[in-house]
């Protein structure tokens, strides 16, 4: 689809919504980085800064009822899928008002009722589960699609291989989205993979493979719409590779000294938010004051989310025993 057709298809409302979500992810992540470094937030964090176009492009192609699975780096996916920022923030603080009542934490953000499996922080671990969700949709004849997000590192896990092969054999309505940000923790993908494109692995499962520019939300949306549509219409699953980059370290205080400066700079030139903002302005979808208004709104929303999280109720220690078995007390 040409860029013009794509813009027309999406319409001004959806385009500005997509921009807003991307900006919300960026703002959320920048704020919590600060809070975390200040020592105000417990636990650990893995951030999504630089990758916003991936989550928003894919999730904008989904319908209510579709399900996503995520990873140890889930904040962006959760916001893109529509889990309220304040519930995510409260979860990071371990509060009962968090989306997992403080039992999940940063690495297990999700809410099945809002279309997101609690994130699975074992690399590659969500891929078989998402395949199983898609299998359920097929067995029940439901018009739903399951989407698995994972990184380049996960494509070297056995779980990836088993799940993609089974998904293809059973022709389930799934999309496997590999966010290739070029580094598995500190290890360059070049050191651990002899092929250039992870999408090429699709052919070994008899599956469609596709590549999109993970820094361009419109390209991600375009390709994701196509492959989600294929899954929905019974044409089977796809491996969709998004070429992207994380500006932040792998986790916590990682300064990512293992990434050359020039590499970081060249990716920042392709910043997904700045570039999308430019497109929206050039195409007169929104004007500068509209952008400012929107950014102010998001800033305020995240400030409120922090307040909501910080002031939220702590769980009682003995809440440790709740929310586990469905019809049985925890044996003590």
């Amino acid at each position: 689809m040409t860029r013009q057709d794509l813009l027309k298809k999406l319409g001004n409302k959806k385009l500005t919504d997509m921009f807003e979500r991307m900006f919300e992810i960026r703002t959320f992540e920048e704020k919590i980085q600060f809070l975390f470094l200040e020592g105000k937030m417990p636990g650990t964090i893995h951030q999504y800064i630089g990758m916003e176009a991936c989550a928003v492009g894919v999730c904008s192609a989904l319908k209510e009822g579709d399900i996503i699975g995520s990873t140890h780096r889930p904040h962006g996916h959760a916001i893109a899928r529509g889990i309220p920022s304040r519930e995510i923030m409260a979860e990071l603080y371990g509060k009962t008002t968090g989306c997992c009542k403080g039992k999940g934490g940063s690495m297990h953000i999700g809410d099945i009722k809002k279309g997101m499996l609690p994130a699975i922080a074992i690399v590659g671990g969500n891929i078989p589960v998402v395949m199983g969700m898609a299998l359920a949709f097929k067995l029940k004849g439901e018009d739903r699609v399951a989407v698995s997000f994972f990184g380049d590192g996960a494509s070297n896990e056995g779980a990836f291989h088993e799940a993609l092969n089974m998904a293809s054999v059973y022709e389930v309505p799934a999309v496997f989205v590999c966010e290739n940000n070029l580094y598995g923790a500190s290890t360059s993908i070049k050191k651990v993979l002899k092929i250039e494109n992870i999408a090429d692995r699709a052919s070994s499962y008899g599956m469609q493979g596709m590549i999109a520019d993970g820094m361009d939300v419109l390209d991600v949306y375009d390709k994701a719409s196509k492959v989600v549509g294929d899954a929905r219409s019974g044409k089977g699953p796809t491996l969709l590779e998004l070429k992207t980059f994380r500006y932040c370290g792998h986790s916590r205080r990682d300064p990512s000294n293992y990434i050359p400066k020039e590499e970081k700079q060249s990716w920042k030139k392709k910043d997904p938010i700045l570039n999308f903002e430019r497109v929206l302005l050039e195409e007169k979808i929104i004007d500068k004051s509209g952008i400012k208004e929107l950014k102010d709104k998001i800033d305020k929303k995240i400030e409120e989310a922090i307040e909501f999280a910080q002031n939220g109720p702590e769980p009682k220690p003995e809440d440790t025993y709740s929310d586990f078995y469905v019809n049985m007390e925890v044996p003590r």
Binding site: C99, I122, P128, V129, G132, M133, F137, D323
Partner: protein, 338 residues
């Protein structure tokens, strides 16, 4: 109708699939026409009646249990099957990290009603097709574990497992199945039962007294339950009265049943087919001594396999698995000493 464990499980699966169309089976070689019906004939022929719900898989255990997990969260009731329990270890990430924990991680917002079936037993195959894997799973909160030693219980526990909203792992014993034809086992023990007409379940979490007695309590599951009864027969002739308890559910343990029996007899022997280190006997023993040590007339005694892998040689294998005579000897000595 008298059925073997394999037949009783098949009947229960068939009836559950008829009753509830969200129930499906997924596993290796379970529904191949002309094949085995799983390694021990449990699903034999079911594919003829439920073509879309008997799903044969590639040899991908992590994929199978991941598929079951995801499907269960989305409202299905999968029965996932491995040919040998040993292969569960290939799927440990899905079982321990996902199936057992996802409900908790979600804050109770989802459920994972997966049934997992796994044959165990030290049975002429050496170290990798003949382990008793129960201890690996008992230490994982989030999974209910059952171990039927009779066809009556196999039928009732399978039905209870399918209807349970939490993950349930069923350990089945190779020597108790009563599998026939090419899949029959040498050294099998008759575990068949009269299965009554009509539907019933056996409650998860409840053990049963297989034989009442006064002098000592013997606790054993699966094959060890049958060997414990045989030991009790030997000792009966010598005037020693043994109470034999079959926990049936390994987690959560029916500790009330066990404690009441030990209070009565004052002595307890726990028989295990798996290595002694970190086994179910250690757990039961600790719980007894934490609650009712005052009642004990002699030390809690564990009779278990050596702390080694299962050996192949029939001579070593017989030494490895606690035999009825060995159980009887141990009890005889215990009573003589105290």
């Amino acid at each position: 109708m008298k059925l073997t464990i394999a037949e009783a499980l098949r009947k229960a699966i068939r009836e559950e699939m008829q009753r509830d169309e969200t129930v499906f089976c997924i596993g290796e070689d379970i529904g191949i026409s002309g094949g085995f019906g799983g390694a021990f004939t449990v699903t034999l022929g079911l594919e003829k009646d439920f073509r879309d719900r008997i799903i044969d898989t590639p040899i991908s255990e992590n994929g199978i249990f991941g598929a079951a997990c995801g499907a269960a969260i989305m409202g299905m009731r999968p029965i996932a099957d491995v040919q040998y329990g040993d292969f569960l270890l290939c799927a440990m990430d899905q079982i321990i990290n996902q199936i057992a924990k996802l409900r908790y991680m979600s804050g109770g917002k989802l459920k994972v009603p997966v049934v997992m079936r796994a044959p165990v037993g030290v049975t002429g195959r050496g170290a990798q097709h003949a382990q008793c894997l129960e201890p690996y799973f008992i230490s994982c909160p989030g999974i209910k574990i059952v171990a039927p030693s009779t066809a009556y219980d196999a039928y009732g526990l399978l039905k209870a497992a399918v209807r349970d909203d939490d993950p349930v792992l069923i350990f089945e014993h190779k020597l108790l199945y009563g599998s026939k034809g090419a899949r029959s086992e040498t050294g099998g023990v008759d575990a068949s039962s009269e299965i009554p007409e009509g539907d019933y379940t056996v409650p998860i979490g409840r053990g049963v007294v297989r034989r009442e007695g006064e002098d000592i309590t013997i606790i054993g599951s699966l094959l060890m339950m049958h060997y414990s009864l045989q030991a009790a027969d030997i000792l009966k002739k010598e005037g020693i009265s043994c109470e034999v308890i079959d926990p049936r559910t390994l987690w959560p343990l029916d500790m009330d049943l066990i404690l009441n029996s030990v209070k009565k007899t004052g002595r307890v022997v726990i028989v295990e087919e798996s290595p002694k280190q970190g086994g179910i006997g250690a757990e039961i023993s600790a719980q007894i001594s934490e609650s009712i040590s005052d009642y004990l007339l002699s030390p809690i005694t564990r009779i278990a396999a050596p702390n080694t892998p299962a050996p192949f040689s029939p001579v070593m294998e017989k030494f490895y698995v606690p035999q009825p005579e060995r159980i009887a000897d141990k009890i005889r000595n215990l009573l003589a000493e105290s």
